[in-house]
Assembly symmetry: C2
């Protein structure tokens, strides 16, 4: 399908690269496409970034039928533009769509839309260390109808935001609160879909943890409150002895692109990585026995986020003396190196869209 | 706080009362109020029903931080306008707000907003049997920010829709599918809040059940898949022998206004009503022993919805020969009678807003 283009004749001034923060600035353009009942996905268009107008009865406001994605574009030293494994995000978008009863979107069209949009907004891609252009595709229900059912019409948008570090800590160890009261998702629910409601459900626990001085919460499984699941916007890895563990995908956590890449990178470097159920008790025991080496989160926003402390039932679990561990550091360097084009991409993970 | 008023000089024509359906038609006016960071809730206004314009980065599209309510206004034979226990919906709205980290809204202001809005749109209230004016208050996050946290700005709207029967069956027994694979909510989650994500999470199970010929699904608890919870947009009651059971409020189901009213009505009529955990097994056993008398759902949309069949693991549980039971019928007559002013309101549940 051809992507239409409407020029923006009223461009914004760009923010200071040193004060980007996360998700606060948006570029000059956006991509928009509609799903019309009986017609399918129509009118893919790159157009000036602008407000959208919706009837107050639009289903998204009431029943939250929606999905989103998050990936990044990086500007290399020699001014090329790289995307990191976009096909994984595109696949996941359609998996989320399937779970949320939203019509599938053509994979190639999504990749083309992302690539062309990033290209017209190329000047917005920052290039300082730790910065990138965050890409946010999202889909939501637009039927003008009040009543619970699947919508017959949808909107698909892509917006772009030049970003710095996701956590104010930067690449420094974060403190994590292990949540025992609130639950984010449970098997049989929509935890593995990247849909709005999962995040809305996380806000209260997260804000209570923030008040107590923690960056994030680590969720436990919804049924038994025994197994670790994931952190706010990251998957979690635990190094015990020489083995690196991460929770297996059971349906309640997100199948993270950074998680997958981390597993592959670690295995390529000779580490033993195991995906399985992990109880909070065995983490506590490992720390007690001095076998808990490192803990880190993985996600597009923060890439690798070393965990310095976890708190459980009022007890501190100190990890690696609260310092960044070797594995975390190496992974961060490797991953961000590949993403920004500074390290050779042996895995073929990046796509150069500047050509 | 004074509620502002902007007149609508371009009124719509009203739909045929015999073909209202549910949630498809909207009136001439809406209520709108904004929460501005640092200022609180400001500018309450009744204004022409019109689209709302939002930046594509508005948090509601991405993270679904939102709550809603649903209640009804009825027009009596002598042309008065009654609301049914609006204070319960208003309380629940603020309970949902608290769970979703949305700032509380002044109770009296909400009641005033609903009353004044219904009054300016009074001509839209249908008066045929089974019809009413559905009132939909809703709140959602409006920060222009991409990143998971609580929003600092919100919009609160109330829209109105003249409605007929919620189920196409009308007041006839529905067929219900007992869901074993998908889960709607779990203790510790947001199941007891009336928030968008709970409904998004229900769509797939509901649409699969529809395809198999069922009206709705009956959810089981998220942890053990053993206890019955609630139906799509209704709470559930089971009459076994002379006792009427309904699941207790454990945090994962909605504290329904119709549920509460049903319990009070039944008790006032001398029935024994018990709120407790109910296993699916004991329902099957009761049916086997011939002690399962009636099953019905309760909710604002359908008021009382008799259940004729429930299906579990491919087996049909037939209830009362698939016919409307006496208790269901009596409750429906009493409740709709009180709501429409045809039956004396001994409980003081209705508020006359036409004065
Ligand atoms: C809930 C959740 N878990 C994990 C992740 C990490 O996934 P990815 O590595 O694909 O960014 C994210 C977000 O991006 C997330 O939202
Ligand atoms: C999930 C759910 N359960 C139960 C109910 C019934 O509650 P009420 O009687 O207040 O309408 C509703 C809806 O209105 C609902 O959405």
């Amino acid at each position: 399908m051809e992507i239409g283009f409407i020029e923006n004749i009223d461009k914004k001034s760009k923010p200071n690269q040193n004060q980007l923060g996360f998700g606060q600035h948006f570029t000059d353009y956006m991509f928009e496409m509609d799903y019309i009942d009986g017609e399918g996905w129509v009118n893919p268009t790159i157009k000036p970034y602008a407000p959208i107008s919706l009837d107050p009865s639009a289903m998204v406001f009431h029943y939250g039928q929606s999905v989103f994605e998050g990936l990044k574009a990086y500007r290399t030293k020699d001014d090329r533009v790289l995307l990191f494994r976009p096909e994984k995000n595109i696949e996941r978008l359609n998996k989320s769509n399937a779970r949320m009863c939203i019509p599938e979107i053509d994979k190639e069209l999504i990749l083309k839309a992302i690539s062309e949009l990033v290209k017209v907004d190329k000047d917005w891609i920052p290039n300082q260390k730790g910065t990138s252009l965050y890409i946010r595709p999202f889909v939501f229900a637009t039927d003008y109808y009040v009543g619970v059912r699947q919508s017959h019409n949808y909107k698909f948008l892509i917006i772009l935001s030049p970003v710095g570090a996701y956590y104010s800590e930067g690449f420094n160890p974060v403190k994590i609160f292990i949540e025992q009261q609130y639950v984010r998702a449970v098997k049989g629910g929509v935890g593995e879909a990247k849909t709005a409601g999962n995040y809305a459900a996380s806000i209260k626990a997260q804000s209570e943890a923030k008040e107590k001085g923690f960056s994030q919460v680590l969720w436990l499984d919804g049924a038994e409150h025994k197994y670790i699941e994931e952190v706010g916007a990251m998957n979690i890895f635990i190094m015990i002895g020489e083995e690196i563990l991460t929770p297996e995908l059971t349906g309640s956590i997100l199948d993270g692109v950074t998680r997958r890449s981390t597993i592959e990178l670690l295995r390529a470097s000779g580490y033993q990585v195991t995906e399985r159920k992990i109880t909070i008790d065995e983490i506590i025991e490992a720390q007690f026995n001095g076998r808990l080496k490192e803990v880190f989160g993985t996600g597009t926003a923060a890439v690798i986020s070393p965990v310095g402390e976890m708190w459980f039932e009022g007890q501190k679990i100190l990890i690696n003396g609260g310092e960044v561990g070797n594995v975390s550091q190496k992974l961060y360097d490797q991953l961000t190196g590949i993403q920004t084009g500074d390290v050779e991409d042996e895995f073929g993970w990046t796509i150069d869209i500047s050509k």
